[in-house]
């Protein structure tokens, strides 16, 4: 791909999304740089997941265009589309693992489809992915129903990484996890991003995630989008953005926030969830 070395891996131009008569997005522009972690935030119903689905190519926008790795997602043909699909991985909210397959078999699905290789090597690569996302070896043998919510997310992440994508899309990666599990998941994504050189786009509600791993944040307000670093958003006078970042939860999540330590041990336990 000619644009492989370009700085911008995803470019969204003037995207409009409508459901019936209701307009969700009215002219959204977004550019995602290679190697950054971009968080998409917004109130309920502002279309975070919808925007993600539009970029991935699951939800056709009413107007505008979406370029991923230099290719227009909504204008390429099926063959090009399948090629492009191999360059990004998606983690759906609850993992979306195939329930009739084990975790290892789930990871092998895309390998089997796109890269012919011996079974033994495929099993080794699957085991590598299982280990990379921090799951124990025997998790590969288990069925999704036998895993906890947090483990299912990790397994889903392992499957999304199975073709070594350049871009990773995460839909609410820490939703439904306890605060410790969420902080660990944030750290895992940070590690994988640094190690595998990923570009990460995540829709999230989790303020801790935003402060912990996001380089830039896109805020969906008034059917438009405002993109900037956290420092820029903290100065933004828009009332919703003010309420979001300066509300009680927003303040608590900011680096350097002081918890009233009930006892020193607890304060130490909470420390890593707000690491700068």
């Amino acid at each position: 791909m000619p644009s492989d070395r370009d700085d911008i891996v995803i470019r969204v131009r003037d995207v409009v999304t409508r459901f019936g008569t209701q307009t969700v997005h009215d002219g959204i522009d977004l550019a995602v740089r290679r190697g950054e972690v971009l968080g998409i935030v917004g109130g309920s119903g502002t279309g975070k997941s919808v925007l993600l689905r539009t970029i991935i190519g699951l939800q056709r926008p009413a107007g505008g265009n979406v370029e991923v790795l230099g290719q227009d997602v909504w204008r390429i043909d099926d063959t090009e589309r399948r090629q492009l699909d191999q360059h990004f991985g998606v983690l759906f909210q609850d993992g979306a693992l195939f329930s009739s397959l084990t975790v290892a078999q789930n990871i092998e699905v895309p390998l089997r489809e796109h890269c012919p290789m011996p079974e033994s090597l495929m099993a080794e690569i699957a085991a590598t992915k299982v280990a990379l996302v921090g799951l124990p070896d025997d998790a590969g043998q288990k069925f999704p129903a036998q895993l906890s919510g947090g483990m299912r997310k990790r397994a889903g992440l392992a499957r999304s990484l199975s073709l070594d994508p350049e871009i990773l899309f995460l839909d609410e990666p820490t939703a439904g996890l306890d605060p410790i599990g969420a902080a660990e998941f944030d750290r895992l994504i940070g590690d994988l991003k640094a190690g595998l050189g990923l570009t990460v786009v995540m829709a999230t509600h989790d303020l801790d995630s935003l402060f912990a791993i996001c380089d830039r944040v896109a805020v969906l307000v008034d059917k438009k989008i405002r993109v900037g670093t956290l420092a820029e958003h903290l100065r933004d006078p828009h009332p919703w953005i003010q309420a979001y970042f300066h509300g009680p939860r927003g303040r608590a999540a900011q680096p350097g926030a002081q918890f009233p330590p009930a006892d020193p041990e607890m304060a130490a336990g909470l420390g890593h969830s707000v690491s700068p």
Partner: protein
Amino acid sequence: MPPSATFVAAAEPDALVLRAEGDWLLATAAELDRRLRALDLPSGRQVLLDLAGIERLDTAGAWLLKRTDAELAARGNAVAVANVRASLAPLLDQVWTHGAGTPLPHPVPAHHTLAGFVARIGEVTLHLARRAYSILGFAGLVVVTFLELLRHPRRLRLPALVSQMEQVGVNALPIVGLLSFLIGVVFAYQGADQLRRFGAEIYTVNLLGIAILRELGVLLTAIIIAGRSGSAFTAQIGTMQVNEEIDALRTLGLDPIEVLVVPRVLGLALTLPLLAVYADFMGLLGGCLMSWASLGILIPTFLEQLRSAIGEWTFWVGIIKAPFFAVVISLVGCYEGFNVARSADSVGRLTTQSVVESIFIVIVADAAFSIMFSMLHI
């Protein structure tokens, strides 16, 4: 240009050098794996893994390097890794420190062995017995709730009952009518074809009258309703189960049997007999028109022959079965709905199961009725 990768093994005076070159990617992993496996690994030597020639690397390539390193070390070689490009170091580091997973075999389902197969037969049998017992318990619970309602008739939910009767009865009229009509047509045609050889065409009417009124009308209706409404009961109650709505009802002090099951059972028990009458009529209408078209039997003649063919019990023998079938279908449908676990796929599985079970029980019950009626000589 497709990615290509290679490695060269060279014996130098003080050490064996393995030079990796090119693109160590998923796309080249199969070929690299084959050649690495074919390599005759030394033991007890100094080995240098020279990675200077690697252009591109992903987790699959990093894993192959890691595996080679581990295999060499396991044979007592002293392995050193050299010339890692700065841009590839983080990935290599990530996979080498965190990516050491051991592949484990896929679990084999137990019933793929002979002993497993036998065990499964036993398991399924016990399971069936337990289910039968459990359905019977559910039926008892519904009967008790119903008797309770008879003592306090004000607690009977009339709007829910009427709405159920509309859904299972009125809305089913087109499909039940059309199918009964067509079955009447088919029966008349086939009967006429066979009976014509004996010059007994007129007995087509007897065949139609007995078959439709005694058996086909009600059985066909019950099967259609089992597929249409029994499945709907399971799906509705099952979805409520998934959404914790049933639990919400209980915490609000409402009895789910009273609120959800009684209106459905009662509604179907009241409407299925009416639907069966309607199906009888449509079946005979289809047969009548077909007799006229293919045999030239005029409608008055048809009616005359029909009256002589059927006894006073023929119609009632069919209709009397309808409420029983209705209770079976609705009880099984609701029971399976309550059995739904808190996952979406169990709704689908139990809906299928509910339809199969209720059709099965309806046909078994029909056979039992036949035996009973023949013993009573009616």
